[in-house]
Amino acid sequence: MRNALSLLVLTPAIGALLLGAVPNGAEALMRRLSLAVSLVPLAICVWIWSVFDTSRGDFQLVERVGWLPQFGASYMVGIDGISLLLIALTVVLTPIVLIAAAGSVHHRFKGYLVAMLMLESTMLGSLVAIDLLLFYVFWELMLVPMFLIIGIWGGERRVYASIKFLLFTMVGSLPMLAAIIYLAMQHGVGAGQVGNLSFALGDLYGTHLSPVAAQACFLAFFLAFAVKVPMFPLHTWLPDAHVEAPTGGSVILAGVLLKMGTYGFLRFALPLFPEAMVAASYWIGALAVIGIVYGALVAMVQPDMKKLVAYSSVSHLGFVMLGIVSLNTAGVEGAVYQMLNHGVSTGALFLLVGVVYERRHTRLIAEYGGLWKQLPVYAVCFLVVMLSSIGLPGLNGFVGEFLILLGAFRFNHALGAVAASGVVLGAAYMLWMYQRVMFGPVTNEKNLKLTDMTRRELATVLPLIALAFVMGVYPRPFFDVMRASVATTLAHASKATAARDLAAGNQPTAHAAAGASIRVRESPRHVVAEPEGGGAAAPAEDSAVPAAGNGEAH
């Protein structure tokens, strides 16, 4: 399949348009159609995984079509290990959310399905885009469906939550647009002719920027991605967005959208501004650790279940950020793996909270109590998912957290130690919530009438639980896929990181060596190769990136 990636991105969008044509009455047809449409990207992703060459760290299945030649921007897509894993997460979560939607969404059902499919399309787009401008396009487009999902199908304060979500993200992302343009321009200057800008990621790797400019651009990128992660001071939109979003919306928001921030750091901020990133790694690490402890502490006292899970996401993603800034193989691979874990376990947590919300229409922990006796199956599922989220060994959460702490400890003992306390706090608020909801006598008589999970609800949660077990016991396939890509990403910053590690007094970790060993054509111009013929021949005057040697597309 020549342009698998474009197909992957466009199928959900086309499906959404098809769905638009379905008459409002036919709910069953809508359900089946939307599910079928969402399974196509899953199939494509499986095919890509089978074809993916794990030994190569650079981009594969690259497709390139001229879009804005005047700017040197082109529709250029490609994937490497990291984006493949996140794509897999997206294509797994979306069908689950669509199945769950049948039970939970009642008014304007068709609109919900259309919005969800459009959301999937834009998320996949931003994961495959390796042209900065194309990435920015999908990055902004992602906001619109999410804004609608929170705004139309959300809870009482949904309007405030959706506007807050939107403005927070936009405040972050627009300075990034300015930085992207500046970067593209600098590339033009670097390559001799002032005129020819280029947004292709491959070309921009080598751009040399004055230290001040590099810092400024890095800060702009940092702001955009930190809001999305969310990192400590910029996180207050998340609890509101989660509490007010419908169940499906929360699952996707927590499962995939939050990962865009951390993915952005790994794909763009780190390779484009290695020195700035390494220099900033200390204070970002500090912010991440504050986020971990702060998120855990505040989660402790939340009266509302969804808000508690939202703050736990702040804490978990604080771990991921700590892993990334540790800039050693263990930390970064742990971070990428934790991204997947968080998607699985927090996604499942939101589904489970949704199950109870559908029955009692309240998320307050005080309203529940002694559910184990009423809903044994529900309680067991909740237990397993909770354990995976607090990182019990044998389940997926542990693998990610262990590696992140390992890497972080290498980076800085103090940060590693405080982060380890985050693990304890994490267990504390989760167990306390679990106890108040599940254990103890049945306090509220309304809970006596609750029915256990239906087959549909089980169908949404069980795959995630199975995934949690598999990822906990046998994580090798996932690590094989991302090993080369992480090494390449770290290789970009290897010089600066080695200097930092030496300054910090411990030996330069092996990744510097490992980076070199991974077969990476280091010259910035040709990291991205073009397909032989290419789906649509790159337009002639696109002189920014001369067609490189052999193409990859199969």
């Binding site: 691979e333 354990l387 542990f398 590693g416 103890g440």
Partner: protein, 655 residues
Amino acid sequence: MHAAATEVTASLPIAVSYLRYIPLAPLVGVLFHVALGYRLGRRAVGLVACAAVAVSFALAAKAFLTVLGSAAGTVVTDNVYQWLSSGEFTANVTFSVDALSSVMIMVVTGVGFLIHLYSIGYMAHEEDYARFFAYLNLFTAAMLVLVLADNLPLMFVGWEGVGLCSYLLIGFWYTDPEKASAGKKAFLVNRIGDAGFVLGAFTIFWALVDLGQGSLTFATINARAAELPAWASLAGALLLFVGATGKSAQIPLYVWLPDAMAGPTPVSALIHAATMVTAGVYMVARLHGLFEAAPAALQVVGIVGAATALLAATIGIAQTDIKKVLAYSTVSQLGYMFLALGVGAYGAGIFHVMTHAFFKALLFLGAGSVIHGLHDEQDIRRMGGVAQKMPITHATFALGVLAIAGVPGLSGFFSKDEILASAYAGGHFGLWICGVLGASITAFYMTRLYVLTFRGKFRGDHHKWDHAHESPIQMTLPLMVLAALAVVGGYVGVPEVLGGNNAFAEYLAPSVGHHQLGLAAGTELMLMGISVAAALTGIGLAWVMYSKGPDADLILKNKLGGLYQQMREAYNIDAVYDALVVQPLMRASDALWHSVDVRVIDGVANGTAAAVNSAGEGWRRWSTGNVQHYMLTVLVGVAALILALTLSSLIGVAG
């Protein structure tokens, strides 16, 4: 004069593939209970649960015999698959059995099997039968993984796995909020210890990477421990010891064990007496090379052990609940084990682990049988004379008491004496004195417990007395077997001076090194005499005081005054922790949420929005609708523009 450096003979690995089924069998049991348990009824569940542990026991015995039979230092290993590898770090799922872990798996599966059998009777009338046995099997699997693991990460999987099971089992009767929060407390305190464990593992790992051989297998750690930089080995050892204190309930993380008595008694017997709590001791013994490389850490282990032994013993005296007394006795005995490790007598420590498993499991099960018989009566002040009603329980319990008190001829005497002798030989006189004192106090409170429960006449309400009856055969059989083991168990390690060849220490030598006492026969006998005397005085004193009834406590109360009340409330350490840690944490998180999140960050966000809005409102008012105001603005605009132009041209000219 430190004991001779323990040399470890080179280990000769024998690759096998059956070790993996030891933890797998109980896991299969768990799956069975979860899937089919509720449908197939009690008999099937009980059968499968015991069968699973029996299979593990058989395989464990096979491994034990292979190690016993072959040359010293042989290690049976089973490399299943590579679990994790990222950068320099790799973790494999490899199970290995050497002398040390062979003893442990025999104890875990052996005592475990007996307790499973006992539980069938004890839990007969519980409706969540399948769930109980699912947890019990899961615990056995996790404990076996912990003991069989050949590297720290895999051990950590078992380590937290047993923590989870103790959480589930303590909170088994979840409808009662205290029991649920006792479970939570156990898990969280363990988690604090686990955090220390993990940090210790990292310290060692990265130190080893700097040495060029980054790996966390026990063999590598012990081998390269000496070459580690001093701070790394000390920090690593201490952090790992924090993990051990969490799991094995030593100061300061012992507060969860007494509350853990909220769980069913077989749970207390299996987890909080015989197996889980010894995990910390096993870990320190396993990593003896590391601890040796950091003598200061070893010192700390010894001191903490002795202190805990003494403290717990004093609390034990004043307890009135039968299970609480046994709980504090366990904490105290664990203190002894750590004391043994602290003085370098790893063999003696493990020997005490084994013997303690036998008689403490026996005592707990005996107590369970008494509680079962007296319809959940746990306060010893309302018992008495139970001997007539429950002869077998009385006999076995008495043997247990004698064993733990250290009466010569029984297993307790041999293991405890070896520890005290090693302490004395190692020159740790302070620790030795604590040990002896602790021994006599132990004898005192165990005899008090025995006398108040079994002797004299019944003090509870006669309704319970009429229905009191001996427990069924499934419960008394394990008691008798354990009693036999409690008596015979000691003869495996009879010291030379009493004509034995201390076979147990010899057997463990390849794993943890053999530690020669180097004492003259005379001094050794003299030490034995002193410890026996201490034990007998304790027994005699308690017998005399308590044979008349529980009011003997009053004598102690006015003799010790306020101290006695403190001992009764276990120096209310819980309240201290609550005030120092839990409450400030909750207040802090509440303050953080309201002040930082709501007021500061949201304040800033909403503030800017409000500022922009008010600016908008201000400028909006500017268009008043009156044409002449607009004209005025235009003309003012003209003036402003001209001014700006002149300024910019002046700056332009000057600039």
